[in-house]
């Protein structure tokens, strides 16, 4: 196993673990806002980790433009994700807030109709 593959594996594994925690949170959290909170954050991070890991195993020699083209593309996808994913989460949350969804609290558990 070459060094780049090891680095990639670590990043991918990290990404998968983070996604998994997000998914667990999605199921376990009590209301809409908390669920979106876990899902939105972990997804952004996990996707970044996975993309970054993939940069290391991109085929093509390091000194050639072809290989770097793909690497740069991967990083650009990451950039878009950094901007787009939180914005989407924000938009959804705001829409929910504007349409009158109350957040869950310990004293008032009726935040979301089950």
């Amino acid at each position: 196993m070459a060094w780049n593959e090891i680095v990639c594996t670590i990043f991918l594994a990290l990404g998968c673990v983070v996604t998994l925690t997000g998914s667990v949170g999605l199921v376990r959290m009590p209301d809409f806002y908390a669920r979106l909170h876990t899902a939105g954050k972990t997804d952004s991070l996990a996707q970044l980790l996975i993309l970054f890991g993939l940069v290391f195993v991109t085929p093509g020699p390091v000194d050639e433009i072809g290989g770097w083209l793909i690497r740069v593309k991967l990083l650009m996808v990451g950039m878009i994700l950094i901007i787009a994913a939180p914005t989407a989460t924000h938009a959804i949350t705001k829409a929910a807030h504007l349409s009158g969804l109350k957040p869950w609290t310990k004293t008032d558990p009726g935040g979301e109709p089950k």
Partner: protein, 402 residues
């Protein structure tokens, strides 16, 4: 069990579950969102089956545009479907079971999944693919063939290179060729004089041809061999756009302001949209242009372009969009795309070729002509697709603001 089959099985399980949920869930919004999920899963299935172009289209069309259209329609429809008395519709279930059983019965005689010996892999398509290829370097243009390379040879299964027999009736070579052995789509070159499975009187497309210019064979098939289908596919899109205008557009009265609420209070959305729209449009153009080299092309790029405009309309309101792109302009542009396509075909007629015979466009270098024709055609498709998608969205949204 290959990896592809294992991943495929997992994905298809998810897809099936989603499909059942789409049909069974009562909320129409949930159904529409699940359709998007379904399309994205489908796109994954297709990536797994190495069909990048289809995956891209499915993600853009199914996951993107279709969902936008559905949601746009649902805005002024009831949110939920009516509660049904019976859970299961027995006649429908029986019909489906019978039809499904018939279809499965039909698969029993099919070649196995992934079987390289399936007729479709070694009958016509390899010939199609092998007909024309040149030696092209992406950055440096055309290159001479390497030393010792026989352009009129095929490769056998064990990698040996053999010449094609000169006798056109001798087709035994195909049995030992890599095509027949493993169904491999290897670009090969046939001699202009040697035309197997081929009636006399045809001129083959020149060996210096587009497969070299256009490494993405999906694009070369799409715009070349089946370019005529693609022209009508673009026309289908155009027809849909015109039909929507015809069915939904209201007669515009003088002085009637277009009502549409821009999201004035959504600062974050507005800023992010402003930042990202140029990149979305750039990406759309990139996809259209890059279709010859990798996955992508007119449809995918056109849809991405349309998504850029639709995002603009959603956040800043349709009046703002109409200032940038008045309906009259989009109406005309929808037609312009198809006209570019069919015009390219007609131009081939005027240059003495047959309809859509792009090689007629450049008498000196037919291969360049092919590449030129395909590029033009891709742009035509891109223009029509983006403008029609935008028109469809506008018409559905116009309805909702009433």
């Amino acid at each position: 069990m290959t990896t592809i089959v294992i991943i495929d099985t997992l994905l298809l399980l998810l897809v099936t579950a989603t499909a059942i949920a789409i049909i069974e869930v009562r909320s129409l919004y949930a159904s529409a969102m699940l359709t998007s999920v379904y399309s994205l899963l489908m796109a994954l299935v297709w990536v797994n089956m190495h069909s990048m172009d289809v995956a891209f289209t499915e993600a853009a069309v199914g996951g993107g545009i279709s969902t936008i259209l559905l949601i746009g329609t649902l805005v002024h429809l009831p949110r939920e479907e009516k509660k049904l008395k019976k859970r299961l519709h027995a006649p429908a279930a029986i019909t489906c079971a019978l039809a499904g059983a018939a279809l499965i019965y039909g698969t029993l005689d099919m070649p196995n999944f992934g079987d390289p010996m399936a007729p479709i892999h070694h009958y016509r398509v390899p010939e199609m693919m092998s007909q024309t290829v040149g030696f092209i370097n992406q950055t440096k243009g055309k290159q001479p063939a390497p030393e010792g390379f026989d352009p009129y040879a095929y490769r056998t299964f064990n990698g040996a290179v053999q010449g094609i027999p000169k006798d056109p009736t001798d087709t035994a070579w195909r049995e030992t060729s890599i095509i027949a052995q493993r169904g491999i789509m290897v670009p090969q070159v046939l001699t202009p004089g040697h035309e197997p499975h081929h009636e006399a009187g045809h001129h083959l497309h020149p060996p210096d041809d587009f497969n070299g210019h256009i490494p993405n064979s999906v694009t070369s098939l799409l715009a070349g061999y089946r370019g005529y289908d693609t022209m009508f596919e673009t026309t289908v899109i155009f027809t849909a756009g015109v039909s929507l205008i015809m069915l939904l557009r209201r007669p515009r009265r003088e002085g009637e302001a277009q009502k549409s609420a821009p999201m004035t209070d959504q600062v974050i959305l507005r800023v992010v949209t402003k930042m990202s729209i140029p990149f979305i449009l750039l990406f759309g153009l990139y996809v259209i242009t890059h279709g010859e080299l990798g996955p992508g092309g007119g449809f995918q790029g056109g849809v991405v372009l349309a998504c850029g405009f639709i995002l603009f309309a959603l956040v800043f309101g349709r009046p703002a969009l109409y200032r940038v792109l008045p309906p009259r302009v989009t109406d005309v542009l929808t037609g312009v795309g198809v006209l570019i396509y069919s015009g390219t075909g007609a131009a081939c007629l005027f240059f003495g070729g047959k309809f859509l015979d792009y090689s007629a466009l450049n008498a000196a270098s037919p291969g360049e002509g092919e590449a030129l024709g395909m590029t033009l055609v891709e742009y035509g498709v891109g223009i029509t697709v983006s403008m029609v998608m935008l028109t469809i969205f506008n018409q559905l949204a116009e309805e909702q603001s009433k």
